[in-house]
Each structure stands twice: as C-alpha cells, then as structure tokens.
C-alpha cells in the first residue's frame, strides 16, 4: 500500500457515519451512468409487473400505481463509481405494497428487477422488503428525469445504485439467485456500500 508521493487529502475529513468507505460527496451534481441507450418511455404507456414465484402475478398501469398510498425516502445514495449524494428525496410507493398484492410464495428468496431496456439486477428478497425499497417517480418534488430512470425506477438506497434499476418494468421473484447485467459483468452480487462490495470477490 504505497503512499502516493505528493498526494494530500484536499477534502475535509468526511463524516464516516454517513460516507461509506471509498466514497466522496458529489455535492449538487448527480452523475448519469447508463450502459444502454436511454429509452423514450411515456408514463401513460408504462406498466410494472410482479411475477415469478408469487401467488397472484399482477401488472399495474401508471395510474393504478398512483392509487397506492404514497411513500417517501429521504436520505443518501451511493454509486459504485465512488460518488455519494446526500439528502435526496424520492417519492413513489413501497415495494412492500406491491408484494402484499402479489404475495410471494414461501420458496421466493430473490428478486430480479427488469428494465424496459433489457437491463437486469438481482437482489435478495430481504433487501427489498421491510421498508427498504421503493418504486419512485419523483425526485426532490419533480418528475424523475428520463436520464435518471424516469418515468419510474426502483430505489434500494442501502445498496450501490446500480441495484436501483432505471426504467424498471418487472420484478421477478425467484427461488435461486442468478446474476443480473452488471453482476454478470464483474460486479458484486449484493453491493453493500458499507462493506465496499463493488466487484466479484470483494
């Protein structure tokens, strides 16, 4: 672990209670990171399905989703590319509300989130239940911009942000874990920022 000649800490000592290891505060900017072309997905044509190992597979339209009681996340987000962004407000609904309708079977232990682009990301079911995950359509009181996943993205803020699939269209309940898009491409299966689970083998 060589010290880099001439390199000094330039930023103030970060609040380690808030900034996971290896992360920096990106301040007011919100980088856009996407591997595929940004889709044109009008909200009124958009649908979200929950299927796989559930007792009652269901698909909701944009207006049907808005019939759920709203839910807001206020807090921080962390990207594997090392930026963190503090004090974000996302509004949508809790994933718990969708699962209460679809009713996962006793075998369901993992979720694959699918986007309209074909993007996928895998999560333990326990990471999207118990008030830890949302389907969101607004950020800081405004509609979620297209480049940030609008009209609708998954939000799982306690994990690195590649797990918060943009343009999410389907949650598939599974008995066994299987890797999603970035997970097949070298990223960690779970992605806990506090454990610095960035890449396979971390």
């Amino acid at each position: 672990m060589p010290v880099t000649r001439g390199f000094q800490r330039r930023r103030p000592e970060p609040d380690r209670g808030r900034l996971p290891p290896g992360q920096y505060d990106t301040g007011s900017s919100w980088p856009v990171l996407t591997a595929e072309a940004t889709p044109h997905q009008p909200a009124e044509e958009w649908q979200l399905g929950v299927d796989g190992l559930v007792e009652a597979p269901h698909t909701w339209t944009w207006s049907e989703l808005h019939a759920f009681e709203g839910s807001t996340y206020f807090g921080d987000i962390h990207c594997v590319t090392t930026w963190s962004k503090f004090d974000m407000t996302f509004t949508g609904i809790s994933v718990d509300d969708l699962l209460a309708v679809a009713r996962p079977t006793s075998e369901a232990a993992f979720v694959m989130a699918h986007s309209v682009t074909g993007y996928t990301t895998n999560l333990p079911l326990a990471d999207v239940t118990g008030g830890k995950a949302w389907i969101v359509w607004s950020v800081d009181g405004k509609p979620l911009p297209r480049q940030h996943g609008g009209p609708v993205r998954l939000l799982v803020p306690h994990l690195y942000f590649w797990k918060s699939a943009k343009w999410v269209s389907r949650l598939e309940l599974m008995a066994e874990d299987r890797p999603g898009f970035w997970e097949q491409n070298g990223y960690h299966d779970r992605g806990d920022p506090w454990l610095e689970q960035r890449y396979q083998g971390d």
């Binding site: 072309a37 590319t81 480049q147 083998g201």
Partner: protein, 233 residues
Amino acid sequence: MAPAPLAAWTDGRIIELDHPTPTTVRLRMHVDDRPRHLPGQHYLIRLRAPDDYTAQRSYSLASDSDDPLLEFLVERQPDGEVSEFLADVAEVGDVLELRGPIGRWFVWDTTTPVLCLVGGTGVVPAVAMARTARRLGRPDLVRVAAVGRGPDDLPYARELEKHGAAFAWTRTEADGRPAGAFTRDELEPLLDGVELAFACGSARFASYAEELLLAAGVDAGAIRVERFGPTGG
C-alpha cells in the same frame, strides 16, 4: 458460471508521462504480471495520502493488450482530486495503486464490425479498439467517428486520422465542412455493415450520440454507452 473474481489492487509505475493537450495527461504505466485486457476495459487508479486517505477513479485504457505498458489518457476536471493530481503532480517513477481490468460490457470482442461514435476524451476506448484491430490485421472492423472542438483539442487525432477515422469539429471549419457535430446524413454511410455501436464521452455527448445512432436506424439493443463527467443534471 460465476465470473472470476476481479484482480486485487496492485502497484503500477509511471514509465512515460506527457500532456498531449493542455487539459490532458497521458500516463504509460508498468504492472508486473498483469492480466490481458479487452479493448474498452478500464482500470481503477487509487491515490493514497500519508494519513491513509484514499481517492480512486476509473479510467479507460488506450493501449492494446500486447503493449508492454498500460496507457491512460486523463482529462483534468475542475476540482478533480484524482485528475488534477495526475495532470499536475504525478511524475515518471511514481508508483500508484491500480486495479483491473474491469468491465465486460463496453468491450470489443475483436471480431464484430463496430462503429465508435466518441467525443473528447471519450476517444480513449476507441483508440484501444483501433490499435487492437490494426494488430490483428483487421483495421476495417473498427470504424471511428470522433467529435472534438478542433484537431488540436482532440487527443489521438493524428493516430485516428491514420486509422481512417471520420471527424466532426464543433468549433473549426475544415475542408469546407462547417463547424458542428455529426449529422445523420454524415453518420449513415459509416454504419454500413456495422453490427454494434459504442458511444463514449461526457453525459451530454453520450445523449447526443445515442439519439443520433437511433435516428440513423441503429437498434437500441446494439448500442453500448459509456458516460463520464461531473454531472448530467
């Protein structure tokens, strides 16, 4: 089958360093026993302060895997704690921590005919792809369309010109072509026979590139995007 674990951190020594443009630095580094990489992959570069504070960023490789050194081209970002150090402080002989190669999506498989629509320092992965294609004797497989303010602002412009790249200068009129990014009419002939398109550049450039590729008839599933820069709004 699960992917192999990523290589651990290793030490890299700067062997060559120069500044091809006023805002960029080119680093050529030696790593003992490094794994081969595919063009389009990147490495993490990590800096370590005496109090053990670290900062790391990812940078695309410009070098072909047969090159004995790893080559990075880094643009100095305003208040960029890693890029400013690399551009202004780093010297030949310095040892930095490296981890890679990373990325299995934005890579050229060495056999598919591709177009790279790249802007500014987004040329770097296209340079790696073009160098690899030339080594393999198939320069025709990697077509490059590069956007820059002018020839003196675009890193690797001369090398890419020899490769047969098409250029669009946004601030410079050249050979009767008015200043401006590529138009759909200019791009369409470059797509003949191409099966995959790579778009790389700033968030703003990448948005332009992917919209132009879609407008020119490229299937959304055949577009791979790499964005960088401080913000996308």
